[in-house]
């Protein structure tokens, strides 16, 4: 399909996609089989392929303009809320799932069927051509795009033998018949072209393989915690259609320490320069534990899965004692960043075990707390925890965990229906190590210090390696098909009027003629003493 130029002359070109000109005429009075055949021919024309290519491109565009569920589900929700009329309509058209939509699939499947319908028969033909003899010399060699002739004192047989030698040395496939030598080379060009298109088909299959048998999950892990790879431990999990939980590698992973480095000087102050998570992992519960430095661009490969460091945040540690003085809660709590620049973060602490009344807290953390410019507020001036301060507000009542309805660990939904009530005088600024005694003897809360959390993505994609192989083949295929062109050379020698031998040489190259032809002619005519200067190529096209 990527032939750079079509037929150069009357000699036959390789099996090309049919040009729209010779597209079969609309049949009349054909049976169903005839219609099918007609439809198939239409589908495999280059014009249809071009239209389908164009449709794939146009179809992909909405996927870049509108938010997509696969990438950013929260932005899709936002969009639907903001566009009450257009939103549901677009949703019906699958505009938020473009790349999983039936219409997009229809386009690319048609394209690939069209591609297969062209490339596979063409590959078969190419295999035949590679074994066949080079086509016999056309009658009028001088009509070819490249042609030359000269006279020599040698006999025709000598010249033809010489031609065979010269062409063979140049790795042409040579065949001799009735006073002429036919030679052909450059099959690699068409081979590359076919490899490229077949590799694209392979790439599609690899993508499908990954989508069907793989899985992908996200998990948040705080310092000091361990993650075991099983379905229930994920925060988000997306299995492939054919995925089987038994295939999950039974690894475990412990986060020892996360370190973020930031630029401290200049106008790029506060920009992150490096993230690194020191982890320990085991391939399976009985295996030896090994350390690993998990970084962005440096995923961990374990048991067929890959573990990626995606994000990070702060997880302040708290100890909460209830009214009786018992420790009702002691753990680190992941906070989410409210702004990406200096990581002001918020989070909630839920203490369902507090006695007699359940306790809950909402807190805002400033990693590097400073006064705002007007002096009235606290803001964070730097993303690293140089001077962490948090403000905490207390709530009492029923958190709502016992009702069995799942709730986010970052929110207190019971605030809305009044089951949780703010505790008067229950707000306080805390620095690490400080405690706050809640009013009314409700207990104490201590800000023990600051840990960090990382978010991890774990995935297993069995299509990964096949996709890579297909992609590499595609690149080599397309490069080869552009670099190597099929070339044919014919040499005919016969006795001239004055008894000298007239030698005619003709060349046909797909695309633009090469200098090789002139070199061959020169080699033939100047090969022996007595050989005359060749008349340069006639009708030479550049």
């Amino acid at each position: 399909m990527t032939d750079t130029q079509g037929t150069e002359s009357a000699t036959e070109a390789p099996a090309e996609r049919r040009a729209p000109g010779d597209a079969p005429a609309r049949p009349r009075g054909l049976g169903p089989l005839g219609w099918l055949r007609w439809g198939w021919r239409q589908l495999t024309t280059m014009r249809t392929a071009l239209v389908l290519l164009f449709l794939v491109a146009v179809g992909a565009v909405p996927g870049s303009i509108l938010p997509q569920r696969g990438e950013a589900p929260e932005r899709v929700e936002q969009y639907l809320q903001d566009h009450r009329t257009a939103g549901p309509f677009l949703d019906k058209l699958k505009m938020f799932d473009v790349f999983a939509s039936p219409w997009f699939a229809a386009i690319y499947i048609l394209l690939f069927v069209s591609l297969a319908g062209c490339v596979i028969p063409r590959a078969a033909k190419h295999l035949q051509a590679m074994r066949a003899r080079p086509p016999a010399a056309p009658r009028n060699l001088e009509r070819l795009p490249q042609a030359a002739s000269f006279e020599t004192g040698r006999t025709p047989d000598e010249v033809l033998a010489e031609a065979r030698k010269v062409l063979k040395r140049r790795r042409f496939r040579v065949d001799a018949a009735d006073g002429a030598v036919a030679a052909e080379k450059g099959y690699l060009g068409e081979t590359g072209n076919l490899v490229f298109h077949l590799a694209l088909l392979g790439l599609l299959f690899a993508l499908g393989l990954g989508n069907s048998f793989g899985y992908r999950g996200n998990v948040l892990l705080s310092e000091g915690k361990t993650f075991a790879n099983s379905l229930s431990n994920y925060d988000q999990f997306k299995p492939g259609r054919q995925f089987d939980t038994d295939e999950m590698a039974p690894f475990t992973l412990t986060l020892d320490k996360f370190k973020a480095e930031y630029e401290t000087k200049g106008d790029k102050r506060g920009q992150a320069t490096d993230f690194s998570a020191r982890v320990r992992f085991k391939d399976d519960p009985s295996a030896k534990e090994r350390p690993y430095d998990l970084k962005i661009n440096h995923p961990l490969k374990v048991g067929g899965a890959k573990v990626y460091l995606l994000g990070h945040g702060y997880a302040p540690k708290f100890t909460v004692r209830d009214a009786k003085g018992n420790i009702a809660f002691q753990d680190s709590v992941p906070f989410l960043a409210m702004e990406p620049q200096n990581l002001t973060s918020e989070g909630v602490i839920k203490v369902p075990d507090a006695d007699p009344e359940q306790l809950a807290f909402y807190a805002i953390l400033w990693p590097t707390a400073v006064a705002s410019d007007d002096g009235k507020q606290i803001v964070s001036a730097f993303p690293a925890a140089l001077r962490p301060v948090l403000t905490i507000s207390t709530f009492t009542g029923d958190i709502g965990l016992d009702s069995g309805v799942p709730q986010s660990v970052y929110q207190l939904p019971a605030l809305k229906d009044g089951r949780l009530k703010p505790l008067p005088g229950g707000s306080k600024l805390l620095e690490p190590g400080e405690s706050f005694t809640l009013p009314g003897g409700k207990g104490t809360v201590t800000f023990d210090g600051l840990d960090e959390w990382i978010s991890l993505s774990v995935n297993d994609d069995p299509g990964r390696v096949p996709a890579l192989v297909a992609a590499v083949l595609a690149v080599f295929g397309v490069a080869t098909s552009f670099l190597v062109r099929r070339r044919r050379v014919w040499v005919r020698a016969g006795a001239g009027e004055d008894g000298r031998t007239v030698v005619r040489v003709g060349g046909l190259t797909l695309g633009n003629p090469t200098a090789e032809f002139d070199e061959i002619t020169a080699a033939l005519s100047g090969a022996r003493p007595g050989g005359e200067e060749p008349a340069p190529a006639t009708g030479k096209k550049e």
């Binding site: 164009f54 992909a60 790029k268």
Partner: protein, 360 residues
């Protein structure tokens, strides 16, 4: 030299580059307008005429005709092989100023200054100097000018100079006015050896596509003008090569760039697999790289399909080039995605993680 003064030198060299490109642009335009190029075009026209005749003779193809055509064409062949457009030692023999040589000289100085901008920036920041949009566009301009210089020497395509210089000046103008970003470290996601491979490939391909785009625009202009009637000898378009040659040059350069663009996308996918945990996720940049790829693929196919050859294929190539430009500006500044390196200080991605029940 320390980082700060290297960064400063880089910024100064940037100014030098822009000035030299502007002067080169003027010189190339002068060459097109009233330089030796005009006379050359006229002789080229005559030569073309002679060749056409000889082909007709060859087509007549009698035994006698062979020798005659051979000689005629041999003669043209020799003149043709002389580096007509490349500044040769004998240049200036016809008197008057040789604007073309001056333009190429200025262009080479500008090119060297452009290279200097990139090298000093890289030395100042101790990393590959294409970590943000400013550096990326600087490198693309350099790649486009390099591609042009290669084409100018190899395929005698000096006529493109004014157009490529204009593109480079516009790009560097946008670069300095809107995209400027002071020297500094990059976000951790860009901290990978893949930046050297993936981004370099994208830069080279974009530079070459730019040259192909300039050639195609000229092709479309000239073929439209030709469709209306013969072009007068003193028209600007008469001084650029024939539509056939323009078409072929555009194809050649596209055929060089297309596999590199393919490789850039694939290496991007490999990098994405390492950095983001998936090799293809329909990120806006991925989508538009793919759309661009599709459009160039369609052009290459159309070019070999009867009925699509010529101006229709050229329009496809321009659509593809528009996609390429949009992929650079539109995607980075209009859409939110993983390639949004336009923000001055991007922060790491923080995913909202929903958990149900229990405490953390």
């Amino acid at each position: 030299m320390d980082s700060a003064s290297l960064a400063n030198l880089s910024d100064k060299l940037m100014l030098t580059t822009v000035v030299l490109y502007i002067v080169a642009l003027v010189a190339y335009a002068a060459d097109l307008g009233f330089g030796r190029g005009r006379r050359r075009a006229e002789t080229a026209e005559a030569r073309e005429e002679a060749r056409r005749e000889s082909r007709v003779l060859a087509g007549a193809g009698g035994g006698d005709a062979v020798d005659t055509t051979g000689t005629t064409d041999g003669a043209t062949g020799t003149t043709d092989d002389a580096p007509a457009d490349v500044p040769a030692g004998t240049a200036g023999e016809e008197g008057g100023r040789d604007w073309g040589r001056l333009a190429v000289l200025l262009n080479l100085f500008g090119w060297a200054a452009n290279l200097g901008v990139i090298v000093t920036r890289g030395m100042a920041v101790h990393r590959w100097p294409w970590g943000n949009m400013y550096e990326f566009l600087t490198a693309i301009s350099f790649a486009a000018v390099t591609a042009f210089l290669i084409v100018a020497f190899r395929y005698k395509a000096r006529f493109l100079g004014a157009f490529v210089m204009a593109a480079a000046v516009i790009a560097l103008g946008i670069d300095n006015i809107w995209l400027y970003n002071s020297a500094g470290p990059v976000m951790p996601a860009l901290n990978s050896y893949w930046i050297a491979i993936h981004v370099t490939a994208a830069i080279i391909a974009t530079g070459a596509f730019t040259v192909a785009g300039a050639t195609t625009i000229l092709y479309v202009l000239k073929s439209r003008r030709e469709a209306r009637g013969p072009i007068p000898a003193d028209a600007l378009l008469a001084r650029v090569p024939s539509t056939e040659q323009l078409d072929r040059l555009a194809l050649r350069v596209t055929m060089f760039a297309f596999p590199i663009w393919t490789a850039a996308i694939i290496m991007g996918a490999i990098w994405a697999d390492d950095a983001w945990g998936r090799y293809w996720g329909w990120d806006p940049k991925e989508i538009w790289s793919f759309v661009t790829w599709i459009a160039y693929a369609a052009y290459l196919h159309a070019r070999s399909t009867a009925g699509w050859k010529g101006r229709r294929a050229a329009l496809l190539s321009l659509v593809a080039f528009a996609c390429l430009i949009f992929n650079f500006f539109g995607v980075n500044y209009m859409f939110k995605g993983k390639h949004s390196y336009a923000a001055p200080a991007p922060a790491p991605v923080v995913r909202t993680v929903e958990r149900s029940g229990g405490s953390a």
